[in-house]
């Protein structure tokens, strides 16, 4: 039986998008820099980008399934799906890329007070405030709960607040964000998971100093961020004091859902094609470098098998048939494959792939991608952590 309401919603949406989505916004964004991130410091790359955000935000469609009072479109799940299908149909870009939407929003919707939601969600939806996250610290990577950034209660004429001192690392776009959602230690005496709070504060204050991190692959969105007597209002504490770890776990779970696409190798040329272009064909129509060919052939077997596994994982996940800890296996295998793929791409590219700045090398793209890929098995939980999780929670090994 056709859903008449949904059909009419689809027709209306299609018409609205046709009319309102600027033609320039109907092509994919080439890179992070090409996306619309919003926020106080953001400079729109084009009038079209600005217009597209404004029009979508006005309808609440930057966050279509949030309630209208929080800046959302109030759409049902089915309507939201229709909207995404219709956007995909005309290849419309997402109007807004935002850690506020992807991460803080879900956390506030689950753990925030009504006041917090009304204060913080609408500016996120409209792209007015850009957020960054403050999780990892130099001494707390795999052991996130070992974080040391301190928040001490204080009061002044402005009310109750926290004084924050410490350092975060791997804060993406901290130098461009307006506010931060941040894990801080509020009880240094408690067991480590029990003394952490989840707090929001404005980055635009003297005690906050973000410093971009240079990676081995070149510049990056990551920052180190230093807090020296930074101020956070008590009203911006999310959930209860010393219960921030619950919020963090919820958010990390969210993050892990995004991983199963790993190991597919991005678009562009396949590894065999890359090798053929670089090395050429030898005896019997085979790749001229026989040992490279063998390595690539073996990689391709694993890559094809992993694509099947990714399909299976997604199918089982959707059907609720799977131990969530299996996602650790996916993360491990996918990232290791992607690193291997980049190693082989460097081998295939040979001396040309070593170039770092030349035009032919597209600014050293192969080499930079290769080096950047080494982070895959570190960020979002190291391979070692994933293997620990699989051993304990899937294989149920003791200890």
């Amino acid at each position: 039986m056709p859903d008449i309401d949904l059909d009419s919603f689809r027709a209306e949406t299609r018409a609205w998008l046709e009319e309102n989505c600027p033609p320039e916004m109907r092509t994919p964004a080439a890179s992070d820099d090409d996306q619309c991130w919003g926020g106080r410091k953001f400079t729109f790359q084009s009038e079209a980008q600005k217009l597209w955000l404004e029009r979508m935000a006005a309808k609440g469609w930057t966050v279509p399934d949030w309630a209208p009072e929080y800046g959302g479109g109030g759409l049902s799940r089915a309507e939201t799906r229709v909207l995404h299908q219709e956007m995909a149909r005309i290849k419309a870009r997402s109007p807004l890329s935002s850690f506020g939407i992807w991460m803080l929003g879900p956390a506030l919707l689950k753990y925030g007070t009504e006041d917090q939601k009304r204060e913080h969600l609408p500016p996120i939806a409209r792209g007015e405030i850009r957020w960054c996250q403050g999780y990892s610290e130099p001494g707390a990577g795999s052991d996130l709960a070992g974080l040391q950034t301190r928040a001490v209660s204080a009061t002044d004429e402005g009310g109750d607040y926290y004084i924050i001192n410490g350092q975060k690392v791997w804060t993406s776009y901290a130098d461009k964000a307006d506010w931060i959602f941040c894990l801080v230690r509020t009880d240094p005496e408690a067991p480590k998971h029990k003394g952490i709070s989840f707090i929001l504060f404005d980055m635009d204050q003297p005690g906050v100093e973000p410093k971009p991190i240079r990676l081995i692959s070149g510049s990056s969105p990551f920052c180190e961020t230093f807090f020296t007597d930074a101020r956070a209002e008590k009203k911006d504490l999310v959930y209860e004091e010393n219960k921030g770890w619950d919020v963090a776990k919820y958010l990390l779970g969210h993050e892990r859902e995004m991983i199963s696409g790993m190991g597919h190798g991005g678009g562009g040329k396949t590894l065999p094609q890359m090798a053929l272009d670089s090395v050429g064909v030898g005896a019997g129509g085979r790749l001229a470098d026989p040992l490279m060919r063998a390595e690539i052939a073996m990689f391709e077997v694993r890559a094809a098998a992993y694509r099947a596994q990714a399909e299976r994982f997604n199918d089982e996940w959707k059907a609720g048939r799977i131990n969530p800890a299996v996602s650790s296996m996916m993360k491990y295998y996918g990232t290791e494959l992607n690193k291997r793929r980049n190693e082989l791409a460097m081998q295939a590219g040979g001396t040309g792939a070593l170039e770092w700045e030349s035009e032919e090398s597209n600014g050293g793209k192969s080499a930079r991608d290769w080096l950047r890929s080494k982070g895959n098995s570190i960020e979002g939980g190291t391979s070692e952590i994933q293997l620990n999780i699989v051993a304990k929670r899937v294989l149920e090994l003791p200890g």
């Binding site: 396949t270 065999p272 090798a275 053929l276 064909v281 129509g285 085979r286 790749l287 060919r293 063998a294 690539i296 052939a297 073996m298 391709e300 077997v301 694993r302 094809a304 098998a305 992993y306 099947a308 596994q309 399909e311 299976r312 994982f313 199918d315 089982e316 959707k318 059907a319 048939r321 299996v326 296996m329 491990y332 295998y333 070692e384 994933q386 293997l387 620990n388 699989v390 051993a391 304990k392 899937v394 294989l395 149920e396 090994l397 003791p398 200890g399």
Partner: protein
Amino acid sequence: MPLYLTDDQDMLRDSAKGFLAVKAPVAHLRKLRDADDAAGYDPALWKECAEMGFTSILIPEAEGGLGLGHVEAGVVLEEMGRNLTPSPMLPTAVAAVAALKKGGAQHRDKWFPKIASGDATVALAIDEGAKHDPAATAMRAERSGNGFKLSGRKRFVVQGHTADMLIVAARTAGSAGESDGITLFAVEKGTAKMTADPRRLADSSFAAVVEFDGVELDADAVIGEVDAGWAPLTAMLCAGRAGASAELLGVGQGTTDQTMAYIKERKQFGVIIGTFQALQHRAAHLYAELEVARAATLKAQQLLDDIVDEKSADRARRAVHTAKAMTGLATTLAVQEGVQMHAGVGMTDEYDVGLYMKRARTLAELFGDTNYHADRLACEAGY
């Protein structure tokens, strides 16, 4: 179709698992081996397998079978792999059935009922060298009167000494290396001038060296078309390889289950060795390899069951190459880690892990090893 077993397939698995756990656990293989059994399997058990319906899975309903697919065949084979059950399931009820489906009615009418009832087994006479390479088939079938005369030698004919019929690939045209010019023949047991010399393999199964010394065959012994045997041969090998992948997976999973149980119990230095992080990481890596191999195998089976045209057949064939290559990698790792983690006792015949290692080696070689399939995929991808 989601990439996991349906409820019906799950039920089939439970039923095969239950049946084999009682009738043919690893102890069954040991019993046959220690009795120096000359057949390589237990015909009585095989009849029971037929009664369970295992032999009918791939035979179309219209021809008296269950009309199920490669996924279902794989479910049974995986459980046989897990129990190291010796049986002619893979050549007879999977590979041969797939070939005969592409053959004439005379073969199907004759053999499908006997296969279904467990009254006949079939063996495949393809390989001639030490490594699987069907395109390299060199054995000649000369035209002779209305029929053909076969001369040459086939190796690694699994259960060739007990089979009621052999499917033989021979060259009626062209030369070794070409896929055109090969013809498939059905050769019945007891045909004159054919002798099978059974060789016991490391895993206690038998494979025969079969000599054809001018074996005379009627024209209707041909399966499919003369000179165009590559099509039924490919169908047969795809079925065989997907089935071997499933059985390999069962071998890998079976030994790994035992290994995990062992390291959860065994103590050294007063500590359960399963708590050692180095072993845990290796175990987790092994788990990942097996899961990836499992997905590749199921994907290949589903695609085989989904063939509608040449394009989908090609896609399925490639998926089968991937599955056989990947299960070879994963299960080889599983048996190696199995022996090493069992340490001393893993080297003894008393524990099962050595039997798994031997079976894995035979299955890895059967219908082409990892290198063969990875190489085929590379050639097809144009490098």
